[in-house]
Amino acid sequence: MNGLLAAVHYNTWILTTLLALPLAGVAVLALQSRAAAGADAAAKMEIARRTALALFVVEAALSVGLWWSLDYSSIEWQAAVTLPWIPAWGIHYKIGVDGIAVVLILLTTFLMPLTVLGSWTGIREKPFAFYAMLLLMTTGMLGVFVALDLALFYVFWELMLIPMYLIIGMWGGSRRVYASIKFFLFTMLGSLLMLVAILYVAFKTGGASGVPVFDYDLLASSAAYPAQAALWLFGAFFVAFAVKVPMWPLHTWLPDAHVEAPTGGSVVLASIMLKMGTFGFIRFALPLFPSAASDPAVRTVMVTLAVIGIVYGALVSMVQPDFKKLVAYSSVSHLGFVMLGLFAFTTQGMQGAVMVNLNHGISTGALFLLIGMLYERRHTRLFDEFGGIARVMPMYAVALSIVAFSSMGLPGTNGFVGEFLVLIGAFRTVPVATTIATTVVIIAAVYLLWMVQRVIYNPLARRENAVLHDLNWREVGLLVPLVIGIFWLGIYPAPILNRTHAAANRVIERVGGVPEVNPTELTVRQ
């Protein structure tokens, strides 16, 4: 496999291709949209969704090679490309990945085709525009994962926000305008502060030469700011990323955005876009401002906010009457685990955080897809409307149970591996906070089991539920990969952990933590 990939110089073109393909797809959809102007709505939908699916499948197929082609034990950027973009301003097209980024890239490329399948029959209005937005967003999201130039990163960062704003605003539910504006305001507020910080950093580092420095590696290696300034800069990045995570108390845009977004929008938002926040911390906020990040006061604040988010999200999700809101608040709780793991500054915590990121992408994505399936059948998401549907939809019941248990962190599923690593890693440095966070295993069981019970168990009292059809083959087909992922990552996560190990340790080393090296790796090096 590796030889084959090397023969086609895979590493030199793959990242750029992954970024360019969705953009080309937008053009294709635009052309098709003009060609199909006279066709009826059903035909348009058919063309648009088939094209989008084909593009995303190609994208996913291309990205698979990253699994083998890279040297994950290296601390160098892999598959790196540097081209001048606006050299006079010090801006380059510089991209490259490490293990953490690859894991998230693969999550993205694999979820996007499933998202299209999940929107297969749900999106009837303006299908070309919808799938074009998804493609555009994909470029933005992948760009954030690969960008190694802060200006380039910022471009991709904004590029992914606007399609999401439009998806919520155009294909959303009844309060979509409110939700989309709230989403936009929260995220814009954060990213503008970050832009100011990026410009400051670039010009400060550029210094006397007059050419600002946006290059990630140069910035990370120089980091020549006064301690006070570093705190402010970290704060600016923090706001931008914390809104995206979302960290308590900047999370209130999330439930509204989810409830109003169409299924596909919710899946992308929860599974991939929320990862931008935590990835931003790993890639930018921590390594660029290590002195601020490892400041005891800052760490205390971060850990406290993370734990509040974990407990608060779980408690609030327990009392939600709406299926989607419950899952949205549970995301606040899960992403809190990621933040706790990050700021533990231990190898287990950091790698656990990456695992939780990945798991949340799979499990919550699956939950939103399942909610969408139910919504298409019943046009409601209120728990009171359901009950007992395991009798008429056994396959749906099985899928929902598996995903719920994964979300709960049951051992054997992916959820456990991430949560366990985060907690055991965090306990070494912040034991009290970790103990409080661990109580969420109880609350998570309460809200998720209650959710499962109110949907699939209890008496089948409502007539409209008694006539529901079970999942069709398309729906089964799109859930199967997710279920496989849930068990694979739960039972044999070692391949992922080995791939993220070096990258995680590099961040820990940077912020002054104690990286624990795998013993096998030691023997390899000797």
């Binding site: 287990q348 790698q351 009798r391 366990f420 055991i424 089991l449 008694a466 069709n472």
Partner: protein, 728 residues
């Protein structure tokens, strides 16, 4: 660098097949269950909604027909295959367990045999493997789980035969056995934890097996949530162990346990957190409330999960981590004290329950308390011994009650009676005439649990009582201080509590037997004629279990008895478990004088006298002939009512914990904080501010081009002036 383990090239290397076999069974049965019910929907789920409405009712009607009680539903489509696969994998697993046991008996083994399957979580210094550990303790558990499990699987073929969820049932049951084997075979705490949560999951699924009743679904959820409270403790204990010892493998923990200061705060805290886990899983105060509710599941489930195996996992874990508990006397005393209090408390509730399964449920809680007394005072062998004998007789009691309920159901079913309760003892009575086999085996089990020699329960219970007494006379426990009280005093209190519980046990068990099997029949004239003994597939396992309950005591005969009557080899189990728990027992028992033979004989006599007294008391005082069927019974009053309502513990928890948490989450956190403070203040507040600033700005916008031009010019002049000043 190390020599090969004596088991390395033997049948023990197939140890991973033990959990794998039931897992295969689960996968096959699960697939069959799904295949029998699943019917993929149309390609577009929302398109032909109108069409659905017209065909819907007939679909719903046929569906309810299939699940209804009235007509005899056809057997499950794949009933034959399921009946072969489900119990089949158990037979194979039991056979393999016996083979490995035979090898182990012949081998000299001092260290556990570790079978590493693959690297599970390699993260820095946390190198967790998916590894199985075989030693004498896990072997005992494996034999119990596969042996009893096999019998219960066989029993279920008969018991569940008409259930539409036949395949699903066996799938869950197989999955349970898989998890339970993982629990006892795990070589590190995390693999154990996988099994630990896995059995909780199966328990949840099986309690809520008939999920369309809200009460059943609620009971399953309650069981899982309460267990999770315990799991929280288990997890924190793991974190603390890893943070301090840097390992979670049992072998390494044992090797490094010396790093802890004996009796120190650290090791005590770790043990107490672990205990929380044990109390959750093994239904001890304060986390026992889920177990009685768990009786909502099918009766074979109650026998396998909620009596014989899963609920004993806490006892197993204490024995497994005895290297820690033996250096934490305060934690050990807590184990014993909570066990003793639970034993007595649950027994009082058992006195006044009318549901036959509820009696057995509280009896289980009570007997688990006994086991905790055993492992708490460092008598790990005695605790495990009682675990084994209890598995025999309690599985028998549950299956026997299942056989009675089965007969009652059939009788009610035959006369289309859906209102009467098939589990209420007030509707039974005189069942010995209709079910002689069940009657006999149930009495064997009753005598065993009550502690009548020579039945199994007598020996195990007596050993625990004797060890408590011996420890009080000098041990690290007796010399420790427990909350300001001397350890010896606590141990004597435990001994008295345990004796009292033994008396109550004899009383409530005799009461159950009297009301169920003796006296006149109260089932009702129509149904009475349909009462009959269960088929052989169900009575067969009962008879096997009865033999085990009668002779299980031979596993570990005490010296006191063999000296008087030469029944057989002495203390077999103790010698067997010596390599695993011997060291820990010695550490705890250090300084104890050997109890005199005469004292031991007196203790033995006291135990027998109490058991006989309990049975006699119940036999003479209770009048089954004066009972009336449930619908006619008058509500009880006073203290009886308190007992019947289980001391109102559920209600107290509800008011003090459940409701406040919900109310706070909804009222304060969500409605007030999230929607009120953050949204109003931050989000909508900032929007309002922006709107206000916009209004101010809009006042400048007169729409008059002239005004704009003036402003422009004034602005330009100001800018030029500023530049001019800056420039010079």
């Amino acid at each position: 660098m190390q020599e090969a383990h004596p088991l390395a090239e033997t049948a023990a290397r197939f140890i991973w097949w033990l959990p794998t076999l039931p897992l295969i069974g689960f996968l096959i049965n699960g697939a069959l269950a799904l295949a029998a019910t699943a019917k993929p929907g149309p390609a577009d789920p929302s398109a032909d909604h109108g069409h659905d409405q017209s065909t819907g009712p007939s679909h719903a009607a046929s569906d309810s027909h299939a699940h209804g009680d009235d007509a005899h539903p056809p057997r499950h489509r794949f009933a034959r295959a399921v009946s072969v696969v489900g119990p089949g994998v158990m037979v194979l697993a039991f056979g393999l367990a016996l083979a490995i046991f035979a090898v182990m008996r012949g081998a000299e083994m001092h260290a556990p045999y570790i079978n590493t399957l693959f690297s599970w979580m390699p993260v820095g210094d946390l190198q967790l493997d998916a590894a199985l550990q075989l030693d004498q303790l896990s072997m005992v558990m494996v034999l119990v789980i596969t042996g009893i499990g096999m019998l219960i699987h066989l029993f279920s073929i008969g018991y569940m035969q008409d259930d539409p969820g036949y395949a699903r049932f066996f799938a869950y049951l197989n999955l349970f056995v898989f998890s339970m084997l993982l629990l006892v075979l795990g070589a590190n705490m995390v693999v154990t934890f996988v099994g630990w949560e896995g059995v909780g999951l199966c328990s949840y699924l099986l309690i809520g097996f008939w999920f369309t009743e809200k009460a059943n679904a609620d009971a399953g959820k309650k069981a899982f949530v309460v267990n999770r409270i315990g799991d929280f403790g288990f997890m924190v204990a793991m974190f603390m162990l890893f943070a301090n010892l840097g390992t979670l493998n049992y072998v390494d923990i044992a090797a490094r346990a010396g790093q802890f200061a004996p009796g120190g705060a650290l090791v005590t805290t770790i043990c107490l957190f672990m205990l929380l886990g044990c109390f959750g899983k093994s239904a001890q105060i304060p986390l026992y409330t889920w177990l009685p509710d768990a009786m909502a599941g099918p009766t074979p489930v109650s026998a396998l999960i909620h009596a014989a195996t899963m609920v004993t996992a806490g006892v197993y874990l204490v024995a497994r981590t005895s290297m820690l508990f033996s250096i934490a006397p305060v934690a050990s005393l807590t184990v014993a004290l909570v066990g003793a209090v639970t034993a007595l408390f649950a027994a009082t509730i058992g006195l006044k329950q009318w549901d036959i399964k509820k009696v057995l449920a509280y009896s289980t809680v009570s007997q688990l308390g006994y086991m905790f007394v055993g492992v708490g005072v460092g008598a790990y062998t005695a605790g495990v011994f009682h675990l084994v004998t209890h598995a025999f007789f309690k599985a028998l009691l549950f299956l026997g009650s299942g056989s009675v309920i089965f007969a009652m159901h059939r009788a009610y079913h035959a006369i289309h009676n859906h209102s009467d309760d098939a589990q209420d003892m007030r509707n039974m009575g005189g069942m010995k005439r209709y079910m002689p086999v069940t009657w006999v085996v149930m009495w064997v089990a009753t005598l065993a649990i009550a502690g009548i020699p020579p039945f199994a329960g007598f020996f195990s219970k007596d050993e625990i009582l004797g060890q408590v007494f011996a420890r009080a006379h000098g041990s690290t426990l007796a010399s420790a201080t427990y909350l300001g009280v001397s350890g010896a005093t606590v141990l004597y209190a435990i001994w008295i509590l345990a004796l009292a519980a033994a008396l109550l046990t004899a009383i409530y068990m005799t009461r159950m037997m009297l009301y169920t099997f003796h006296g006149p029949n109260r089932t009702g004239d129509g149904a009475q004629s349909h009462l009959a003994e269960a088929p052989w597939i169900m009575t067969g396992p009962l008879v096997v279990l009865a033999i085990l309950s009668a002779f299980g005591g031979w596993l570990n005969l005490p010296e006191t008895v063999t000296e008087m009557i030469p029944l057989g080899p002495t203390a077999v189990l103790e010698h067997w478990l010596e390599p695993v728990v011997g060291g820990a027992t010695e550490r705890i028992a250090a300084g104890s004088a050997h109890t005199a033979a005469s004292t031991e004989q007196v203790l033995l006599g006291v135990a027998i006298a109490i058991a006989v007294a309990g049975i006699a008391l119940a036999w003479t005082r209770l009048r089954p002939s004066s009972l009336v069927p449930k619908p006619l019974a008058e509500p009880s009053t006073g203290f009886q009512k308190v007992l019947e309502n289980k001391w109102y513990v559920d209600e107290i928890y509800d008011v003090s914990v459940v409701k406040p948490v919900y109310a706070t989450s909804r009222g304060v956190l969500w409605k007030f904080f999230d929607v009120g403070v953050i949204d109003t203040l931050f989000a909508n507040g900032s929007a309002a501010l922006a709107r206000f600033l916009g209004w101010v700005g809009s006042q400048v916008q007169s729409g008059q081009l002239g005004t704009y031009a003036w402003l422009l010019v004034i602005g330009a002049v100001l800018v030029i002036r500023a530049f001019a000043q800056a420039g010079g």
